[in-house]
Structure formats: structure tokens, C-alpha cells
């Protein structure tokens, strides 16, 4: 590979693309001018034709200097405003970005062998590239191979690496990955990207303002006839069209630039390491992994351009993907590559082999990410409402997160191992009453894998008891390991879960939620998804009444308090004009509640979002969200298929759902 030549070429191409990007902005100016000029021309001709005394009609031509300067300035100001705003919000340093992606800073003096090796490799690459040694962050919960660089100046940059990268790559491959990230830092790719995003946002602003203009034109249409609604509307429509097309085209160019920067970084990585096999090996290993290099953290989408390899499946094909196709990247480094990844499936196994879920196919698809963000937004929106009454939910979420991180290492290890994961699930289902527990255990001894029973016994021997509100999150933690069970094991496991749940002849909310989560997580592949039947809140009035009443009663001691909470939730949904009615405790049995939840689960995403927001309002109406309430909330969310991530960070910026 001619790595100097390749870099030169990638630089040239990305410079051309940046030029194209600027041309696109000029195109928008031209478009705006064209429309304004047409209108103005018509107006002039019209005036000449209707003038009194009559004048000879002359062609006014196409050039109106004022109009041109006006559109140039108008578009210019919008783009500047937009990019200024966006840059302010993106300015967070590399450390903040790394933390939002779930990274924890590695102590440069670490004694952990895997981390030590990583730090050494980073320092080697700092020497090779002549860049100051950056801080390094470890994403301990990500088991795929990926890494990123963040930060807008070389001396404040950080590098983040997933646990999977540490575990699966050989030293040379790791070197290739880190060298690639150093190239991003050295070439200022994060800064370039931020600028492009800023300008893109400015273009989007044209679209947004166009919508506002149209709305104003409609609103003003009835009143004084002076403010010509028709020209206004035309202007609005043009702004919408230009803004939209400009945004799309700009987005495509930006992605093309991003892909060129990846080639550049690959070539530079080979320059730094002088070892094409290392980088190619890492890429091939990603190609051989069933989950590729996908990142689970929901914030990864915003940062997708910074990663070593695609952090999520591209949704619109190659035009809008941030990274070039894996095969093409490999062939540029290693032209002899035949595209067969099967030889690279086994990790180079260093420290401890991570649990690679063999059957997990669609763990983190785009839809799921959107859902997470949607939920997050709705939850945060209610957060805002509740701020006036003192908001406990936020600290609670943060506290639960710390708690999850504070789980004993042995438990976390168990959750990653298929045996241990099953034992953990069984353990949370064991009843408090001794006689029921005995029945449950004897069932397990008969029907569960002996290894699982053994690990369950060991677990019970330690006297460990899961925190109430950590039970569901812990099951989430077990999910990847559970997915790697064989069909036969999974069938047996689900059967045992069923029996354990019914051992005391009743199904409580947690048990119900747990079963729903397991069914969805483990059996989703073969089952048709729940069909959406209801598209507005009106259609689930009855169900919502039941659920909210039940939540209000569960969360609040006396009835008056409960009714008040219910009222608050109703207020939140006041816009929807619903006939929600309070149900007495006797009317909302567990069965009725479950049925209502199943009904809600069949409603559209938008509806479920609102439902969740109402539930959260209801539960925290008294300003105290107890552990029990938080768990109820999580259960409801899980049953209606809107899992609320425990790792969501309430303090951060609202995800943008518009745009």
C-alpha cells in the first residue's frame, strides 16, 4: 500500500467535497434569488401593464442587485446563526463526549494487563504520530470491536476503546486501531465534521423558518388582506423545498467527506505502524463478528462519525453511511483479501473471552435507538413538568445507575456467562416464603441444568439479595448471555421461569414484566411483532384509566393522595381530551391491570410514549419516587415494549427528535 500517496489522494478528494459543500450552499442562495427574482419580475410587469397613464411594457431583465445581495445575506446569516448555535452545543470537550458514551477514564498507571497494553500502545502511537498522549477511556460494557477519537484540538483529544477491542484483538491489531484514531486527531477530522454539522444545521434552519412562514401566512390569511398571504406562502414553500433538498444534499456530501477521512485515517494508520496486517486484521475481525462493530450505547448515534468502524447499521444504504464498506477498506490495505471473513470469527483471545451472543441478530437496530430516544424525550419532558415540585426521579435514576455499577464483580461475571445468567434469573424469581421457595428449588433440581443449579446454590450460599429496583436492569444485563442459549436450553429455561412464577399461585407485576421481557428478548426472532391497532390515546382510554389508577394506588398510601396523582397525570394529557375516569381499588385487580397493559402494548409508539409520560407523572406526583415506584415504572415500560434504559442520563441535552 502506498500510504503517503493514499493519504494525498484522500486529502484531495475530501477537499474537493468540501468545495462541493460550499457550492451547495451557493446553490441555495441561487435558488432563493431565482424565486425572489421571478416574483419581483412578475410584479414589475404587472405594475407596468396596469399603470395609469399606460406605459410601454419593457422587459425588466433578470438581474436585481438588491435582491441578490439580500438573498446572499439572508442565507449567509441563517447559516452562520445555525452553525454558531450548533457549534456551541457541540463544543463539549472530548472527555464529556467519552463519558456520554459510557467511557471511564483509564488510569495511566493502571496495572490491569489488558489496559496496560492499551496504554502502552497509545503511547507508542503518540510517538509515531507526533501527537501528545491523549486521555484514554474504556467503554467497559461494549463487547464489539470499536474505538473513537473525540475532542476538537489535538492537545485536548481523547480516545475511547471498547472492552471488546481489548479482549479480541492482538497487540498488532490494537496498534492499527489506535493509529487510525490518532490520524483523526492529527488531521482535525472532528473539527471538520463539527463545522459541516454547523452549516448543515443552518441549512435546516431555512427549512424550519419556511414552515413558520407558511404557518404565519395561513394564520394571517383571515385578517388584514394587506400582508399578501399568497406570496408569503410561496416564499415559505420555496424555503421548505430548498432547505430540505439542501439539507439532504449537504448530508450526503458530509457523509462522503466522512468516508474519505476514514480512508485517510486508514492510510495514515499504516504509515504510523508500518504494519498493514495489523489494521487489516482488526477490520477482518470486525467483519467476522456477528455484531460487527455496533455500539449499544444510545448516544453512539450522534458520535457515529468518530468511530473506528460503523457504530450502527446504516439505514439508508451507502450514500448516507459514515464509513466506507468494510471490504473496500480492507482491500485498500490488503489487495489480496478475498472477502471471506469466516476465518476471523474466533477472537485472538487474550484476557478473557467476552460473551459474544451467537444468536443475537438485531440487538441494537435503528428503530430501537429511535425508540430509546423517544422515551428519553418523553421522560425528560415530564421531568421538566415536575421540576416545579422538586424532582426526585432524576436523582433516583442516577442512583440506580450507580447501584448497577456497584454490583459485586461476581454477580456481573455471572450475568455474562450463560450458566450464571440463568441462575441469576432463577434467583430473582425465588419467593420469600420458605415453603414456596422449597417447591421452586425442587422443580429446578429436577428440570434445570445441573450446572445452573450448582451456580444458583453457590449464589444463594452467599446470601446475596438483589435490590428491588435492580431486578429488571439485572435481567437486561443477563440478556446477551441468555441469547446464546441453544433452542433446547432456551425452551427449558422459559419453562422453568413459567413454573417459578406460578409457584405461589399469583403473578405480580415484576414477574409479569420479567416474563414479557424474556419472551421478547429471547423469542422475538420467530414471533410476529405485536400488531399496532391503536393510533391515538382516545382508543386506549379504558386501559389508561385502569393503569393510571393502579399506579396511583400503588404509589400513594391514602386514596386522596392517589386521586391527586391520578389528576396530575390526567392534566398532563389534557390536550388529548380524554375521558379518563378514576377506578377504585377493587376494580383494578392484577388481572385487569395486566390486560390493560397488553392493550396499551398494541398501540402506536407515539401513544405509548405519552402513556409512559403520564405514568411517570402519576408515580412521582407526591415528589417522592420510591424504589418500588421506580420498579413499577420500569415494569410498565418493559411490558409495553418501551424499555427505559437505566443508563439514561437525565441531566444531558434533550435528544433532538425534530429534524
Amino acid at each position: 500500500m502506498d500510504f503517503f500517496g493514499s493519504q494525498e489522494q484522500a486529502r484531495k478528494k475530501s477537499a474537493q467535497l468540501v468545495g462541493l459543500f460550499a457550492l451547495a450552499v451557493l446553490g441555495i442562495v441561487a435558488g432563493v434569488y431565482g424565486v425572489l427574482a421571478t416574483g419581483y419580475r412578475e410584479l414589475l410587469i404587472h405594475e407596468m401593464q396596469t399603470a395609469y397613464p399606460p406605459v410601454r411594457v419593457v422587459d425588466p431583465g433578470w438581474w436585481f442587485a438588491d435582491l441578490f445581495v439580500g438573498s446572499l445575506l439572508g442565507v449567509g446569516v441563517l447559516v452562520l446563526l445555525g452553525s454558531g448555535f450548533k457549534m456551541l452545543s457541540l463544543r463539549a470537550g472530548g472527555a464529556a463526549i467519552a463519558e456520554s458514551l459510557g467511557g471511564v477514564r483509564i488510569d495511566p498507571m493502571t496495572r490491569d494487563p489488558g489496559q496496560r497494553r492499551l496504554m502502552n500502545v497509545v503511547e507508542e502511537m503518540a510517538i509515531a504520530s507526533g501527537v501528545p498522549v491523549p486521555d484514554v477511556y474504556l467503554m467497559a460494557h461494549e463487547h464489539q470491536i470499536n474505538a473513537f477519537a473525540a475532542g476538537f484540538r489535538a492537545d485536548h483529544a481523547v480516545i475511547g476503546v471498547t472492552q471488546g477491542t481489548l479482549d479480541q484483538l492482538s497487540r498488532e491489531e490494537l496498534q492499527g486501531v489506535i493509529a487510525h484514531e490518532f490520524s483523526h486527531i492529527l488531521n482535525g477530522d472532528m473539527r471538520l465534521n463539527m463545522r459541516l454539522v454547523g452549516v448543515l444545521f443552518g441549512i435546516l434552519l431555512i427549512y424550519i423558518i419556511g414552515r413558520v412562514v407558511i404557518r404565519m401566512a395561513f394564520a394571517g390569511g383571515g385578517g388584514g388582506r394587506k400582508n399578501h398571504p399568497v406570496p408569503l406562502m410561496a416564499l415559505g414553500a420555496v424555503m421548505i423545498v430548498l432547505g430540505y433538498i439542501g439539507f439532504l444534499v449537504g448530508q450526503m456530501i458530509k457523509m462522503a467527506i466522512s468516508r474519505q477521512r476514514e480512508y485517510l485515517a486508514d492510510a495514515a494508520a499504516v504509515q504510523f505502524t508500518r504494519n498493514p496486517e495489523g489494521l487489516a486484521g482488526a477490520l477482518k475481525r470486525i467483519g467476522g463478528a456477528s455484531m460487527r462493530s455496533y455500539i449499544a450505547n444510545p448516544n453512539a448515534e450522534e458520535a457515529s462519525h468518530m468511530f473506528f468502524s460503523s457504530s450502527a447499521k446504516a439505514s439508508f444504504g451507502s450514500l448516507l453511511s459514515t464509513h466506507p464498506p468494510l471490504g473496500e477498506r480492507i482491500r485498500r490495505i490488503d489487495p489480496g483479501f478475498d472477502g471471506d471473513y469466516s476465518r476471523f470469527q474466533a477472537p485472538a483471545a487474550r484476557v478473557a473471552p467476552p460473551p459474544v451472543p451467537a444468536t443475537a441478530k438485531k440487538e441494537e437496530n435503528k428503530g430501537e435507538q429511535w425508540m430509546r430516544r423517544a422515551i428519553l424525550t418523553s421522560v425528560l419532558a415530564t421531568d421538566r413538568i415536575m421540576e416545579s415540585v422538586g424532582d426526585p426521579a432524576r436523582e433516583h435514576v442516577a442512583a440506580a445507575r450507580t447501584m448497577l455499577e456497584g454490583l459485586p464483580d461476581t454477580i456481573r461475571e455471572m450475568a455474562r456467562d450463560p450458566m450464571g445468567a440463568r441462575a441469576l434469573v432463577y434467583a430473582v424469581l425465588l419467593d420469600d416464603a420458605a415453603e414456596v421457595k422449597e417447591v421452586q428449588i425442587s422443580r429446578l433440581v429436577e428440570h434445570a441444568d445441573p450446572g445452573v443449579v450448582q451456580s444458583l446454590r453457590a449464589l444463594l450460599g452467599t446470601g446475596w439479595k438483589p435490590d428491588l429496583q435492580l431486578r429488571l436492569p439485572m435481567v437486561d444485563l443477563c440478556m446477551p448471555a441468555l441469547r446464546s442459549l441453544s433452542d433446547e436450553q432456551r425452551g427449558r429455561f422459559m419453562g422453568n421461569v413459567e413454573v417459578l412464577i406460578h409457584a405461589d399461585n399469583q403473578v405480580d407485576l415484576f414477574e409479569f414484566a420479567l416474563q414479557a421481557v424474556l419472551q421478547r428478548g429471547l423469542e422475538a426472532d420467530g414471533q410476529p411483532p405485536v400488531v399496532t391497532m391503536v393510533y391515538n390515546l382516545k382508543g386506549v382510554e379504558q386501559e389508561l384509566s385502569v393503569v393510571l389508577s393502579k399506579l396511583a394506588q400503588a404509589g400513594h398510601g391514602d386514596e386522596a393522595e392517589g386521586k391527586k396523582a391520578f389528576g396530575k397525570a390526567v392534566d398532563l394529557l389534557a390536550d388529548a381530551d380524554l375521558g379518563l375516569s378514576w377506578r377504585e381499588g377493587s376494580e383494578v385487580s392484577m388481572d385487569a391491570f395486566r390486560e390493560a397493559l397488553s392493550g396499551l402494548a398494541a398501540s402506536a409508539m407515539k401513544v405509548r410514549k405519552q402513556v409512559l409520560a403520564a405514568c411517570l407523572t402519576c408515580l412521582s406526583a407526591d415528589g417522592v419516587a420510591t424504589a418500588k415506584e421506580v420498579e413499577i415504572f420500569r415494569c410498565v415500560a418493559a411490558v409495553i415494549d418501551c424499555p427505559v434504559p437505566l443508563w439514561m442520563q437525565s441531566g444531558e441535552e434533550l435528544p433532538q427528535l425534530e429534524a
Binding site: R117, E123, E124, I127, Q175, F272, R274
Partner: protein
């Protein structure tokens, strides 16, 4: 001279000044980069000398019958340290540099033998300290070669920047001289030891 003429002259001079400033700053940045790379080579050589006694100390406990090899490593290391300080005192002395190169290659040879022998001691290979030391030694070897490579790459960039138009017109005037690449006279001599277990 009329007024517009004056302005044109001022404009051209200002543009020239900016161009000069740009060239100067770029060359300074590039020059510092390769100087830093050169300094790294020294730092890492020293780091390697510091690591070796620890390595031998750990290995001693396991490789009782390889006393000779271990002593050879220590001797070679001490010889290299002496040669390095002699070379540092007289960097212009070609003989001293040559001696250092010889001592380095002797050290590399004995280290290679030590690692070959250690293959026969599984306990040693599994030793936590030994694993750490091996990792440290690997990274040091890498750093030495990366520093050398980075030096050469940045010298190349510097020279290209210096010799292309328009910088080539001014570089000599501003005191930027061509930099030399690091040449290895006998490639085997300075080859890094491949540390592997």
C-alpha cells in the same frame, strides 16, 4: 508616485509578509516535530536499560540453570549504558556512536537468547511480573522503532515543505537547513528484539 500606486505596493508587501510568516511558522512546527522525535529515541533507549535488570531479577527465580545467559544480558546492558553515556557526551564523535550501535546489537542478541530459553519455563511465562515486564519491554522496543520512523517521516515532511515552492525561495534565508534521515548502516544491528511469548 501617485496614491493608488502606493496602496498597491503596500498591499503587495503585506501579502508577502503574511506569506513569509506562514512559511516560517510551518517550517518551525515541522522542525520541532522531528527534533522531538529524535529526543524520544534517547528517552526510550534509557527506558529499556532501566527495565532489563528487573526482567533479569524475575527470571532468576525460575531459570536457575541459565545463570550464564542472565549474566550475559546484564553485562551487555551495562556495556550499552556506558556506550550510551559516552556517545551522549560526544555526539559528534562517530567512533562513540559506532560503539553504542555495537553494544546495542550485543544487548539485543543476548535478550533474544534469554527469551528463547524462557520458552522452556512455563512457570516463568505465567508469572504476572514477567508478563508485565515483557509487555513493557515490547512497548519500549516499539517506541524506539516508532520514534526512529517518526523522525524519518517528519524529516521527510520538513524537507518537502522546505524544498517546495514558494518556501524554497525563503527557507535558506530564514535559516532552515535540510535535515538528514537516520540511516541504519547495518540493518540487523539495530533491529528491535521481537519479544514474544
Amino acid at each position: 508616485m501617485n496614491i493608488p500606486g502606493t496602496w498597491i505596493v503596500v498591499g503587495v508587501l503585506a501579502a508577502l509578509a503574511f506569506l513569509l510568516i506562514g512559511i516560517y511558522n510551518k517550517l518551525v512546527a515541522l522542525r520541532n516535530r522531528f527534533k522531538n522525535a529524535f529526543a524520544q529515541i534517547d528517552v526510550q533507549l534509557k527506558r529499556r536499560y532501566d527495565l532489563i535488570p528487573n526482567l533479569v531479577e524475575v527470571a532468576k527465580g525460575y531459570m536457575k540453570h541459565e545463570r550464564e545467559t542472565l549474566e550475559a544480558v546484564i553485562n551487555a546492558r551495562n556495556a550499552a549504558v556506558n556506550a550510551a553515556s559516552a556517545a551522549a557526551a560526544h555526539p559528534e564523535d562517530g567512533e562513540a556512536i559506532k560503539k553504542l550501535a555495537g553494544a546495542e546489537s550485543a544487548l539485543g542478541g543476548t535478550l533474544g537468547r534469554l527469551f528463547a530459553l524462557s520458552e522452556a519455563y512455563p512457570d516463568l511465562k505465567a508469572n504476572q511480573n514477567m508478563m508485565q515486564l515483557t509487555e513493557e519491554l515490547t512497548t519500549t522496543e516499539n517506541r524506539i522503532s516508532f520514534a526512529r520512523q517518526s523522525y524519518n517521516d517528519s524529516v521527510m515532511q520538513y524537507n518537502i515543505a522546505r524544498e517546495t515552492f514558494p518556501a524554497v525561495v525563503f527557507a535558506g534565508m530564514l535559516g532552515f537547513r535540510a535535515a538528514e534521515l537516520l540511516q541504519i548502516e547495518n540493518p540487523q544491528e539495530r533491529e528491535a528484539v521481537k519479544v514474544s511469548f
